[in-house]
């Protein structure tokens, strides 16, 4: 398919004035939902994502129960108003896939063996989408899991890199994603840099992939610092009344 030509990089700057290795602005709020066990709200550029964790709780249907460990389920949902053309509500091929890969990514850090027969439900609601929502969703979900007090070996931080106008850049936004050549979302365990999610759209050469991979892991490290700051803030900033 021929894509319309668009000048995505002008004088070393991208459409929104970022450098090639610069992230969008990220804001994380912890504990926004009162009825959830843990929750987080993330604004990442124009992305707005809400993640909530419920459980560990009784798992239904019963046949899914595992007496050796808990089952972590994840539901990624794109709100009908989150994209330019209204999205038909309900799960579709894309959100089912993202739910599955997100659940697998999170399962590798959560200590599921502590809660036999139980289920942990993670809901990721995309309120406004602007490319890279699976990274934003995972970032929000892992903060929400930490807020829920569920024991984890590490925190998952995610970031994407990609190729636009022949150049490798960090954290694609919507125009770059639509008119660019390639997109590479990566989620890593922040401590050991173990990869828990890696997908790719488009094509990259071996060298380009290496460069994009390193760029994305660096981005994820920056994201981790923001997650950490948000979690520490949620405890330190308790208002003392009276």
């Amino acid at each position: 398919m021929e894509k319309p030509d668009m000048e995505l990089i002008k004088d070393g700057k991208r459409l929104d004035g970022r450098r090639p290795d610069e992230l969008r602005e990220i804001k994380i709020e912890v504990g926004v939902l009162k009825r959830a066990t843990g929750s987080a709200y993330v604004e990442w550029g124009k992305n707005k994502v809400l993640a909530a964790v419920y459980g560990p709780r009784e798992l239904h249907p019963k046949f899914l129960r595992n007496p050796t460990k808990a089952v972590l389920r994840c539901i990624y949902n794109l709100a009908p108003f989150s994209v330019e053309d209204r999205k038909r509500p309900g799960p579709d091929r894309r959100s089912v896939e993202i739910s599955k890969v997100s659940a697998e990514a999170l399962s590798s850090v959560v200590m599921l063996e502590r809660y036999p027969n139980a289920g942990i439900d993670v809901y990721i609601e995309i309120l406004q989408a602007d490319a890279g929502t699976r990274c934003v969703g995972l970032t929000a979900a892992s903060v929400a899991l930490a807020d829920a007090g569920i024991p984890m070996k590490d925190i998952v931080a995610a970031c994407a890199a990609g190729k636009i106008s022949g150049e490798i850049v960090l954290d694609l936004m919507k125009e770059e994603d639509n008119y660019g050549e390639s997109d590479l979302p990566i989620a890593v365990m922040s401590r050991k840099k173990d990869v828990v999610l890696l997908q790719m759209d488009g094509k990259l050469t071996r060298e380009e992939f290496k460069k994009a991979y390193e760029l994305a892991v660096n981005g994820a490290t920056q994201v981790y610092e923001i997650q950490k700051a948000a979690l520490l803030k949620s405890v330190n900033d308790v208002k003392i009344e009276g």
Binding site: Y115, A146, I155
Partner: protein
Amino acid sequence: MLHIKDREIVIPGQLMGDNIRHDINCFHEKDKVYSSVHGMVRVEDNYVKIIPSTGWYMPKEGDLIIGVITEVLTGWWAVDIRVPNICSLRGEEMTRDPLNVDLSQYFNVGDVISAKILEVDEVNACHLTRPWKLEGGITVNVNPKRVPRVVGKKRSMLNIIKEKTGSKIIVGQNGWIWVKEGKTELAIRTIRKIEKEAQTHGLTDRITEMLEREVGK
């Protein structure tokens, strides 16, 4: 060697030290010890422990809990004590012949009871003992990991609340607190305040001051 200070806030996966002893809220890989939850570190010589800031209740033998009867079955009751697994109360606790007696005359669905956890098995299913029916009153829901703060050292905090408000209070380790009589509204407001400010310094003094001011009004 320690990498953190006493009373520092840690997040899951943060490195805490090498060759040190630790509690269940941490884990180790070879010599290195990492935290597995979000909370505050307490250091005692060569031992680190984390006081989690939030979390779910895990049943422990000997805990006093508050539960709600969810089902009356043949010979036993099913009780909801806010854990992900089945929790049962045997009919023998109340009668000699539980199979031929209508158990709902003792406890019916929706009744609030306090009980002790007798036994927890490997999949966290538990049995209760010594049930006591709690009639009337209000059950308040707090985060189970913040219950120790509501009780205080040697029950100091709880005694202050009981004394100043004149309420009967039973604190379940599972985060359900039963309050009856006296200045119930004030007692509940105090418990909520303690839950919110659980990880701050000098809380008992502030609560005493607040209660004295409110009662004096």
